[in-house]
């Protein structure tokens, strides 16, 4: 049997998303509700006028007092401050070592927000789903009112908004979690609620205590509740205007919170001041005139760039300011929000959109073809007829009868076009279509993308093989670009914090890496030793090789995984089916230790090994004796990083709610010391032989990839070694002298490109003649 991956994943998801899933009633109800409101407006013009007046007040800033009724609470979102109620006191419940705590509740006239967290859930329990017979994870959480009625979570994603709930963390990380639930508002007469949790998230049925019931009280929000300052802008407001002189210094026109050009308006609505940055919110709106033919759409996401007064790009990340309705979309309007991770800037700050990719839909045109009395599937009519559409030429190359594209059809007519520009589109409609089929048709609609972006396919389905004369209406889609720029600006307040200083020169930039990848430079003279590599050879286990640094004397040791060279380069520990082996590179002895694990690291004196089994961290003598299980606290995922030269202190990373935290542990005294936390959700790290430095991969704010850093063990003196644009792997390797690193990278063709970098001098070179992933480097 050779099941397709699609089928396997489909089967894996099917217990949770059943075949008979029907979301249509919920969607239709939402749409009808909205439609009804709009119809009410049309039927009751007085109401529409009132609403328009209110909107005008808001837009002109006259309704300042109304605006002040809205506040922003980090991790919660915008709330109505005039009627806000909060949790009277935290509530928690413990069952069988699992604790569920309600941490925050906010109730205003719009909704009820509940934030709770769990402690004590284990990965083992989360992973027991298969044994539990395929039950789903978690369940719907209900809110029980005093009258016995229940509320379901509001439609719309109610997950964690940005900025993240940094002030509420779980110990040990996944599968423990912090949840944010959003329910409809409750009457101000109700001051007691009960949260009902049949099955905790991340937990399969039967794996953890169930049927939680947490009752809590509400109280009016205290006067000193911590709202984040919100600076509001309106089109009529000058709050966000930048003085012409300030803008003039940069040689651009005066900037404000609104920029209108070519039918598009880019509007800055709010700036929210957080403890560690700003959140900018706004929207892009447009009028119908932006489409040359009156019909069209924005075809690609519009992403703004934030710059400071010097034109330096400031990293930002898109955020959900308010998770209640992150998917709120309005006609001719596209909301956006971005955040920074710091507040000290040299203003004014400018958000710019340089261009907007559009598609317009010209008026449809007609075409007819006589298929003859008895056409057959596979028959093709060469047409080669040009149609002029909005300054472009769309050539209909051919029409052919193909097999049905959905289960309701017997055949389809496929139209093949060629546009004179890339990514043009076309759709063909039979002017006299067959009666629709009542049943739901599977398939259809897709067809994949043509390899040639100028080739376009469109098809019309038929319940039989069509014949005779057919008339078609053909609509085209023409891509085009509307150029800006649209720029809005804001002057951040002066701060005593120093503005960000440019990072010290990164050693391995993308340009440098490209040069190294393409070049034939040799490694610096004087470098040598053995390197350990693994090579994916298509088997169940990769091949383990030891060679000289220059690739010579390559020798395959065995198939296996997680190989680790002793610091003297004489032995090799690795993991395979029957556990950890220790291979003597001199005598070729290869005893099994009788224990299993991975991420093996030798002690500096080569007498012991540290390894993990994900949930445990162990140290054992090389002969398999003296197993010592390390107490790593509540963390359930542990990643060894290395040893200090004293042979008694190990360094590892433990997973927590905010990432992995590097930790030292003294094997004699049991003393544990937390070092620093990385946020890339991976615990890889390597300690330099002198114990002074650690190399690790970490998230970089605003970057799509991780960077490779070194720092002191306490996290100080942090230096970016490889910028995030370089396609690095997580694991890097220190050289025996503690001065050089081997950074594993991979080129776009999938070839390993190991790069030597001295992070202290930035000298770098590519390792040639080395195949595979570098796992170790010994004398």
């Amino acid at each position: 049997m050779n099941k397709r991956y699609h089928d396997i994943l489909d089967s894996a998801a099917s217990p949770y998303i059943p075949d008979n899933l029907n979301l249509f009633p919920r969607v239709a109800a939402r749409l009808i509700q909205r439609k009804t409101f709009m119809q009410t407006l049309r039927a009751r013009p007085a109401l529409a006028i009132l609403l328009a007046f209110l909107a005008l007040l808001l837009l002109t800033g006259v309704a300042y007092a109304i605006g002040r009724l809205s506040g922003y609470i980090p991790g919660v979102g915008f709330v109505q401050t005039n009627a806000l109620r909060v949790l009277a006191k935290p509530v928690s419940q413990t069952q069988a070592g699992i604790t569920v705590s309600i941490e925050e509740v906010f109730v205003d006239s719009e909704r009820t927000i509940i934030i709770y967290k769990t402690e004590g859930l284990t990965i083992q329990a989360a992973n027991s789903k298969g044994e539990a017979g395929g039950n789903p994870f978690g369940s719907v959480h209900l809110l029980l009112l005093p009258d016995g009625s229940t509320l379901e979570e509001s439609t719309g994603y109610s997950g964690t908004p940005e900025p993240l709930l940094d002030n509420i963390q779980t110990e040990g990380g996944w599968p423990n979690y912090v949840a944010r639930l959003v329910y409809p508002p409750v009457s101000d007469q109700v001051d007691k609620l009960t949260l009902l949790i049949p099955v905790l998230r991340n937990m399969p049925v039967g794996a953890a205590p169930e049927n939680w019931s947490l009752t809590f009280q509400l109280k009016p929000a205290p006067a000193d509740i911590n709202y984040a300052p919100v600076i509001e802008f309106t089109p009529a407001s000058e709050d966000g205007a930048v003085s012409p002189s300030a803008a003039g210094e940069t040689g651009v026109p005066a900037l404000s919170s609104t920029a209108t050009q070519n039918g598009f308006t880019f509007q800055l609505d709010n700036v929210i001041e957080l403890e560690d940055g700003y959140v900018f919110t706004g929207n892009l709106s447009w009028d119908g005139g932006v489409f040359p033919t009156g019909k069209g759409m924005i075809s690609e996401a519009v992403i703004a760039v934030l710059t400071d007064a010097n034109g330096q790009i400031i990293p930002v990340e898109e955020v959900h300011v308010d998770a209640h309705m992150p998917f709120s979309f309005y006609e001719n309007n596209m909301p956006w929000s971005y955040r920074t991770n710091r507040k000290a800037f040299e203003g004014p700050l400018t958000l710019s959109v340089s261009s907007i990719n559009m598609v317009s839909f010209p008026p449809e045109f007609d075409f007819e073809i006589d298929l003859g009395p008895n056409p057959q599937i596979g028959q093709v009519w060469e047409v080669n007829r040009d149609f002029a559409v909005e300054g472009h030429v769309l050539r209909l190359l051919s029409v052919g009868i193909i097999n049905p594209i959905d289960t309701c059809s017997k055949s389809a007519l496929e139209f093949k076009f060629k546009g004179d520009a890339a990514n043009m589109g076309a759709i063909v409609t039979d002017v006299n279509p067959e009666p629709t089929v009542d049943q739901v048709c599977e398939g259809g609609g897709g067809g994949g993308r043509p390899v040639d972006p100028a080739i376009i396919y469109s098809a019309a389905s038929y319940r039989s093989i069509p014949n005779g004369l057919h008339h078609f209406s053909i609509g085209a889609a023409i891509p085009y670009v509307v150029n800006g720029p649209w720029q809005v600006a804001w002057n951040p307040p002066l701060t005593s914090e120093p503005t960000a200083t440019p990072a010290a020169g990164v050693c391995l930039t993308l340009d440098k890496w490209n040069q190294l990848s393409a070049g034939n430079d040799l490694p610096p003279s004087g470098l040598g030793g053995k390197i350990l590599t693994t090579v994916n050879e298509g088997g169940l286990w990769p091949g383990i090789y030891v060679s000289n640094l220059d690739g010579t004397n390559s020798r395959k040791i065995d198939d296996g995984t997680w190989p680790s060279l002793s610091t003297d380069g004489t032995r090799l520990a690795y993991s395979i089916g029957d556990g950890i082996h220790v291979f003597n590179l001199i005598t070729a002895e290869n005893p099994a230790m009788g224990t299993d694990g991975y991420r093996i690291i030798w002690s500096p004196d080569n007498t012991r090994l540290m390894y993990t089994t994900t949930f445990t961290l162990n140290v054992v003598n090389v002969d398999g004796s003296g197993l010592q299980k390390i107490d790593t606290g509540p963390a359930q995922v542990i990643s060894p990083a290395g040893w200090l030269p004293d042979n008694q202190t190990i360094v590892y990373a433990v997973m927590g709610g905010d990432g992995f935290t590097y930790t030292t542990y003294n094997l004699q005294s049991g003393e544990t010391k937390r070092l620093f936390t990385i946020q890339n959700k991976a615990g890889y790290g390597a300690i330099s032989p002198d114990g002074q430095w650690i190399v690790f991969a970490d998230r970089i704010f605003g970057a799509a990839n991780w960077g490779i850093f070194i720092s002191r063990l306490d996290g100080s003196d942090r230096r970016l070694v490889a910028e995030p644009e370089v396609p690095t792997a997580f694991a890097s390797v220190w050289g025996p002298d503690g001065q050089w690193l081997i950074i594993n990278t991979m080129n776009p063709d999938g070839l390993q490109v190991p790069v030597l970098v001295n992070p202290f001098t930035c000298q770098s070179a590519r390792l040639h003649n080395v195949n595979g992933f570098i796992e170790g480097w010994s004398p």
């Binding site: 998801a13 099917s14 998303i17 899933l21 749409l31 992973n127 964690t160 999938g750």
Partner: protein
């Protein structure tokens, strides 16, 4: 009725067109979202909100473009946003190789029992991936998109996608060693 006809019905305000589109694609979209979010309620919410958003903008929808990729792209992006915000993914961002490994195993087993177990392990393995890697796995192996299509959908260079996939495969060997522990 093909997608374009359903969309035209919807443009005329006929929710029957929406019903057809939803019945045709909601399960696939929800499963794709679930494989990324690992939360069926969030997955359903994502699909629901995506369809609402599409309806609200249906007048601007280009009928000449296939509907399904548009829908799935929206769902994938929404799922990525949802899980990024949740902080729910766990660790070991380079463990997507485990998923590939488990898929390989599941593709070769005859036993229904073992297959069910592997499906469970696949979900567990997915839960350990970063959102972006989940999306890559779902797009490549569930939605069966080409690397070129994925590059387009992810707004990434083709080389980046190739890199992501190759990185996942490269780590396969390590994850073979971890699978045993994952069920402890």
């Amino acid at each position: 009725m093909d997608d374009a006809q359903a969309i035209r019905r919807l443009k005329r305000g006929d929710l029957g067109g929406l019903e057809i589109l939803m019945q045709r694609y909601q399960v696939k979209a929800a499963r794709a979202a679930f494989l990324i979010t690992h939360d069926e309620s969030v997955a359903q919410d994502i699909v629901q909100e995506t369809f609402i958003r599409i309806c609200q903008r249906i007048q601007q929808f280009d009928e000449s473009r296939p509907f399904e990729p548009y829908l799935i792209r929206s769902v994938i992006h929404a799922a990525l946003n949802a899980i990024r915000g949740s902080g729910k993914f766990t660790s070991l961002e380079d463990e997507s190789g485990e998923v590939k490994n488990l898929l390989d195993r599941a593709a070769s087993v005859e036993s229904q029992v073992e297959s069910a177990q592997l499906q469970s392990e696949i979900l567990n393995a997915l839960s350990k991936l970063s959102p972006r890697q989940r999306a890559v796995i779902v797009q490549r192996y569930y939605l069966e998109m080409s690397e070129q299509e994925m590059a387009s959908e992810l707004d990434a260079a083709p080389g980046t996608v190739k890199w992501l996939l190759n990185a996942a495969r490269e780590r396969l060997r390590h994850l073979l060693g971890q699978k045993g522990e994952s069920n402890e």
